[in-house]
């Protein structure tokens, strides 16, 4: 064992409470170890250095008694509702040297291996949430039971930038085969960190018995007694370790990872590599390879960025920087929506589902109103059809969403607390709508605008109460994208802003406070990035090259993204930005041609670039053809420049808000921490703007 000193951290120690139990049926004395950090289920058990040592000591004591013939078996279970959720990642940012990382990796293996080394039958009773190291520790036991109410079971390491390296990459494939193992270890984490439930884990073969929660521990102990007494038989499917059977699913998982990460996230490939090794390696070799892999990954900026991003969405997202005191928020008991188009209808559905208050859709004529309400009712029926809404709940929601023609002066909004407009993106139209709405609503009603680019202050300027206007910018599709940009106009008061944040929270959205500025955060950065891409194509680099340049950086290539949002909307955004910042934004003439030709996408239905689009493109007189690397570099430089300007202008409070916005509003990946850690990591931030965005160690490996 090494003598490396681990950094001092304030660890919430998960204790290992060993308690003697007399097994039913006279099967002997059984040591049951309860993992319990002393808090309720809202602070789950995790494994830090001190907790692992305590567990090790409990297992050593059990080993002595087992050798002396005093005990018949050993089991491990969790505290109520929680088994264990893995390594204590709060300790990782403090790790500055590879040997410290290696020490943590080895400590896990050494401790958990004490379970397998016990000379008596060993059991894990997975009573609640189980993730990462919590999944792994159970695999060291001879037998496992799992509760049918386990709400989350996962090895999320790859999602964060790690591998399940406390035995997971060896033990999981040997227990259930590589196809299911790859699903659990690689594919699920890369699919928005998908978690499975206790029942699924049992079906995958990760537990020997699925037990109902009401008597989970009693029945688990009865099972253990049966196994020890020889009356209970456990049968498992054999795993085919032939090269063909083993490698095939891993090849498939690697190809899948390529599609999802553009080969930019090292963790997925490392996990696959370790699983390949596990076929022929001895357990010791496999575990040592895991140690080395963990040490490498812990010392990688991708992991540090992943943890930084995780912290943003877990913590910063819940306490938006710059938001006023929650207590200032006013209650929202009725919502009005101006407009009954698709976006407005999607909003109506979301407001009704989440706030459960009456929502009134309005539009110019009855036909549009009816269409909007019908859309919402149809969507409710679809949810009911999938069993996600009971008939009563669906009746309730349908009754909440009604329509009204706006020509009557928005009388339906007379008792609304929150009105949001989603009408045509034209300042004069919006101002007129707000003026009419203001005449109908109560004095304290919030007037929110879903504008994606217009000036909030100007929109409010002519109202009697401009202090109640706030930007409330959703991303498409409204129900799916987590981000909501909340924009404060010059006159917006704290009560209005607090109500907007409280409403966003009730809607289940992640919100950031944005200064009133052109295109706010996400659209401004995407506009710069897509504008730069367009310019590069306009200058002569083939679209295919540009499309390849951003693998692992953006969730999809720029022209695919333009096609998704719609060329016309993308053009409108770039025109707005070009008007505001003519020095660095320009509407692409080629994009304008595509819009003019009314082509809906750069891609045909076959998934390939549409030749009709390519025909429209005008070849430049002196074509400048860049490589993918050059394209990437130039686009990143443009992003760095724009991020710096936004921070200087005070568009958001901190670089963290930009990253949170790009992760939750544009799907930028965790392993880059959104965007600023990537710009720091590649040196582009310093090259373009003269300094880093984040200090070393915030989203990168700290200096020793």
């Amino acid at each position: 064992m090494t003598t490396t000193t681990l950094p001092e951290v304030d660890e919430v120690v998960t204790h290992a409470r060993a308690h003697d139990i007399q097994l039913p049926g006279g099967a002997g004395t059984f040591v049951l170890i309860t993992l319990d950090n002393g808090f309720d289920h809202t602070k789950p058990n995790s494994f830090g250095a001190a907790g692992l040592r305590e567990l090790g000591a409990a297992l050593d004591a059990a080993a002595k008694r087992a050798a002396a013939g005093e005990i018949a078996g050993v089991g491990i279970t969790g505290k109520p509702f929680i088994f264990a959720v893995g390594a204590d990642l709060t300790a990782v940012p403090a790790i500055t040297a590879r040997d410290q990382a290696l020490e943590i990796a080895r400590l896990g293996h050494e401790t958990f291996s004490k379970i397998s080394a016990l000379p008596v039958p060993t059991f894990a009773f997975i009573n609640g949430a189980s993730m990462g190291g919590g999944v792994e520790i159970a695999l060291y036991a001879d037998y496992r039971t799992i509760s049918s109410d386990v709400p989350a079971y996962a090895t999320p390491e790859v999602f964060l930038g790690l591998v399940p390296g406390w035995g997971g990459t060896y033990l999981v494939p040997h227990l259930i085969g590589t196809e299911k193992a790859a699903q659990l270890i690689v594919t699920n984490p890369l699919s928005q960190n998908r978690m499975i439930k206790g029942k699924n884990a049992f079906e995958l073969g990760l537990a020997d018995r699925l037990i109902e929660p009401v008597t989970f521990l009693e029945d688990s102990l009865a099972f253990a007694a049966g196994v020890i007494a020889g009356t209970e038989q456990v049968e498992r499917a054999t795993v085919d370790t032939s090269e063909a059977a083993w490698e095939g699913p891993l090849d498939k998982a690697a190809a899948d990872a390529d599609g999802r990460t553009g080969k930019a996230a090292p963790a997925a490939y490392k996990a696959i590599e370790l699983m390949r090794l596990a076929r022929t390696a001895s357990r010791e070799e496999a575990f040592e390879a895991e140690n080395q892999a963990l040490a490498d990954l812990i010392m990688s900026d991708e992991l540090r960025s992943g943890l930084y991003a995780f912290d943003l969405v877990q913590k910063r997202a819940k306490r938006p920087a710059g938001a006023p005191d929650k207590s200032l928020a006013r209650k929202v008991t009725k919502v009005g929506i101006v407009g009954a188009g698709l976006m407005a209808s999607q909003m109506a559905l979301l407001f009704a589902r989440k706030l459960k208050v009456p929502v009134v859709l309005t539009d110019l004529d009855q036909e549009r109103v009816d269409k909007g309400v019908a859309y919402v009712h149809d969507e409710i029926d679809k949810l009911a059809g999938k069993g996600r809404l009971s008939p009563d709940a669906s009746n309730r929601l349908k009754a909440l969403v009604t329509g009204s023609v706006s020509a009557d002066g928005f009388t339906a909004f007379s008792d609304a607390d929150f009105v949001i407009e989603a009408v045509f993106e034209e300042m004069s139209v919006k101002k007129q709508v707000f003026a009419q709405v203001e005449a109908a609503v109560p004095a304290e009603c919030v007037l929110a605008t879903n504008t994606s680019s217009l000036d909030i202050t100007e929109m409010a300027a002519d109202l009697l109460h401009p202090e109640r206007v706030v930007g409330f910018h959703f991303f498409n599709p409204v129900a799916v994208m987590p981000l909501l940009e909340i924009i404060r106009g010059d006159a917006t008061d704290d009560a209005t802003l607090a109500t907007a944040f409280a409403t966003s929270r009730s809607l289940g959205k992640t919100s950031i406070l944005v200064k009133n500025s052109p295109s706010f955060v996400v659209n401004r950065l995407l506009g710069r990035f897509m504008g730069e891409s367009g310019r590069i194509v306009d200058e002569g680099t083939p679209i295919e090259v540009v499309e390849q340049a951003f693998a692992g950086l953006t969730p999809m290539p720029p022209f695919m993204l333009i096609s998704l949002v719609g060329p016309a909307i993308a053009l409108h955004n770039s025109e707005t930005l070009a008007a505001a910042f003519p020095d660095r934004f320009a509407a692409s003439p080629n994009l304008a041609k595509v819009v003019e030709a009314k082509l809906p996408s750069f891609y045909g239905s076959d998934g390939k670039l549409d030749p009709k689009v390519l025909e429209l493109f005008e070849a430049p007189a002196d074509p400048v053809v860049l490589t993918a690397e050059q394209v990437r570099e130039r686009a990143l430089e443009a992003l760095a420049d724009e991020v710096r300007r936004m921070l200087d202008e005070g568009v958001v409070q901190a670089p963290q808000d930009i990253d949170l916005a790009m992760i939750t509003g544009a799907g930028f990946p965790f392993w880059n921490g959104g965007v600023t850690p990537l710009l720091d990591r590649t040196g582009i931030a310093e090259k373009v703007t003269g300094s880093r965005f984040l200090p070393i160690g915030v989203a990168s490996v700290p200096e020793a």
């Binding site: 308690h19 002393g38 109520p80 521990l217 009693e218």
Partner: protein, 411 residues
């Protein structure tokens, strides 16, 4: 439409191991409702062919109906035990005779024809809910001298009973208590107690999870000399001690009741058949005498005499109150028919749960004694009451099922 009354049978009963109330007891950090939920669960598990939806009522008793013994316990416990939402439930309080009353209520509803199958039981976590928790006695009780203030302290009512029956000495009580411990120890040795115990996972934040598999209160090997040393907390130089009374305990019980017709149709075993029952009020100051008039009334209801009773399961809240009963009916202190497995002095008495323990044990004893035709379960009840339930042994040669052979053939 003419009404047909149904005979009611006790199918099966179970209980948790009983624990000592207090911080060091096995259930110190285990919820009360969880105790009774495990019992209901076990009853269902023992009848795998019985569709849980056929259980049409859950009556659960608790004396202190607050916190984890509140919230319409019978309903909530049924839901948490996995009974369908269509099964209703309710809570019952008749102090120590809560579970006994749950049984008689449920049985009466079955007999009346309201439903066919029900669960009755009780729970008392005296550690989490000490006797008298949150009570607010009406001041008129004192002002109008309706009862003596000692009536609200059970130990004092037991001392009062010694005043009434001077021939019941402390020595007789201690000897009876030792016999209770001895009989329970023998019953454990012979494996007669364990089959009815439901193991319970016990939660403790410092010790971790444990598993309750056996009663915590018994003190096997206790001698009369040991008991002679104990204090008499209710009176200086009194008679009632912790040794000749039941302790403060945590535990739960439950049983499955059915019409004899339904039991036959669903293939449920018949442990015993209800003959009759009675609850009677007595002077609250001497509540321990309650089982005497209750038994007399139940016998009269049934057209039986005390000589027809071949087995007695009497709750041992206090030795003096059992001895008062035995003296009244001319039964010897050490009569073998009385509490053959020992009683509450040894096993413990988690108030509202105890009635079903008596019944479960009587049903086991019936199976051992096919020569016995009738048995009695009886208990004293706080605030001056007694309860008595008479049962018939289905293993007796003269037992006649109420279900005709034709129906049996069709089932």
């Amino acid at each position: 439409m003419p009404r047909t009354l149904s005979e009611v049978v006790f199918v099966d009963g179970v209980r948790t191991p009983f624990g000592k109330a207090g911080d060091k007891g096995i259930y110190a950090q285990t919820r009360a409702d969880d105790l009774v939920i495990k019992c209901i669960r076990e009853l269902l598990r023992r009848q795998p062919d019985l569709d849980p939806a056929k259980v049409e009522e859950v009556a659960i008793a608790a004396t202190t109906q607050i916190g984890d013994q509140g919230l319409t316990l019978g309903r909530v416990a049924g839901l948490l035990a996995g009974l369908p939402k269509s099964t209703p439930g309710y809570s019952i309080d008749r102090m120590c005779a809560g579970a006994m009353t749950a049984v008689t209520n449920t049985a009466s509803s079955i007999a009346f024809g309201s439903y066919d199958i029900g669960i009755a039981g009780g729970v008392e976590h005296m550690g989490r809910h000490p006797m008298g928790e949150g009570v607010d006695p009406n001041p008129r009780i004192i002002a109008e001298k309706l009862v003596d203030p000692s009536a609200l302290v059970m130990g004092e009512t037991a001392e009062n009973l010694h005043d009434r029956f001077p021939e019941i000495t402390k020595e007789r009580c201690d000897a009876f208590a030792v016999a209770s411990q001895d009989k329970l120890a023998t019953a454990y040795d012979e494996g007669k107690i364990q089959p009815d115990l439901v193991t319970v996972a016990t939660r403790h934040d410092e010790l971790g999870w444990g598993l309750a598999t056996t009663d915590e209160p018994p003190r096997p090997g206790t001698t009369v000399d040991d008991l002679a040393q104990l204090k008499t907390p209710f009176r200086p130089h009194g008679n009632v001690t912790a040794g000749n009374a039941a302790g403060l305990n945590d535990g739960a019980t439950a049983c499955l009741l059915a019409s004899e017709q339904a039991a036959t149709e669903h293939g449920l075993p018949v442990g015993m058949r209800l003959v009759n029952y009675a609850f009677v009020g007595v002077e609250p100051e001497v509540m321990g005498i309650g089982p005497v008039p209750a038994t007399e009334k139940a016998l009269a209801n049934a057209g039986l005499t005390i000589d027809d009773i071949g087995l007695f399961e009497l709750n041992e809240a206090f030795a003096v109150q059992v001895l008062a009963f035995l003296d009244h009916f001319g039964i010897a202190d050490d009569d073998e028919r009385v509490n053959p497995y020992g009683g509450a002095i040894a096993t413990g008495h988690p108030l509202a749960s105890s009635g079903v323990r008596l019944m479960t044990q009587l049903s086991r004893e019936f199976a051992e004694h096919p020569e016995v035709r009738y048995g009695l379960t009886a208990m004293c009840i706080g605030i001056g009451m007694g309860g008595a339930v008479i049962w018939e042994n289905p293993h007796h040669k003269d037992y006649v099922s109420s279900v005709s052979a034709d129906t049996e053939g069709a089932a």
